[in-house]
Amino acid sequence: MPILIAFLIAITISGAYLFLHFQIKGVKKSGPISLDDKTDEAKKKIDEAISKAQEILEETEQKQSKILEQTQHQAEEFETHLEEDFAKNASSVKTLFESEIKDFSDKISQAEASYLKYLDDLKKASLAVQEKSLETVKQQVGELFLRFEQNLSDFLAQTEQKSTQSIELEIQATRHLIDSYKTQQLKVIDENIIAMLERTLTLVLTKKLNVTDQTELIYESLEQAKAEKFIV
């Protein structure tokens, strides 16, 4: 509304300006005239313009107020109409909204029910799977223990056998060592006996045998060498 008023004022002022402009142009076209006449004419014209402008302004103001009143009235009517429409729409929207909400709440309830049912089914399935898994695990553990027991008994049997074998080998080796040591020691004893005998004979015969006997023994040795054809 204020824009409309301002627009009207601007049109009025433009009209007044154009009017004055054409007046002045007409004055210029009429040719050279005397200054005083024209001044008086101009003044007259200006006064006329001013009065016209004032009239227009007054008209405009009147129109403006009328328009204002009309606009106000229309605005009020529009506002009332709008309010009625709004109320109508609002109630329908409210009804629609309520129905939608009810619909939505029904759907939510349904969804909740189905979800709960799904959860329940899931729970049952999970329990079933859990039980099945437990059973499977028990079975596998039982099989594992059986295999372990079997392997352990096999391993123990093998270990026992190997231990027995190695012990027997050790015993045999030890016996062999003992026997060889015994043989070796007996051999040493025999050597010692012979050495002792030779030493004893050397000591005794040196004293007991005279030169003649020694010579006789040498003769015997030489005859043996002759018999063996050692000296040829």
Binding site: I193, I194, E198, V211, I218, F230, I231
Partner: protein
Amino acid sequence: MHQETIKKILDLLTSHSKTTHEASRYIMLLKSYLEAEYFNSPLDLNELNDAEKAWIKTLGEENISQTISKDSLGEILKEVKSAVEKIDILVLFTAVELTTEGYNEVIKKVRSLTNKHLLIDFRLDPTLVAGCSLIWKGVYKDYSLKSRIEKNRDLILSQFKAYINTYA
């Protein structure tokens, strides 16, 4: 012609000397003796040992100066030397040291058994217990009581152990 003389000298040498060194020594003594006989010069016996004196005595007993002429002395001695170098040496180990007579008896015995000229090198080895061992032409053979004990070792040991078991 000189073979008989040489053989006789070698017999005497091998019956008295033991090693080639001794034989060489005895040949020198033979030469000195014969020179003393031929030229009527005295032979100094003071520096000689008993064996050498016995050798000189044997030469006198065998009348060796009659067998070898003055002219052939050098030749004969040369041949005797070369013959002595070729003689085989018998190394004889005894368990005890014999007397001179004992050694001579052994030399005689060896000569009678072998019937050849050889020199005997007597050495001492008390470990032989009794009897002797010989080295002939680089080969050693033990004929001593020790070797007999070794040969009958098992028998001796079995007898010994039986004795021990009986009386232990």
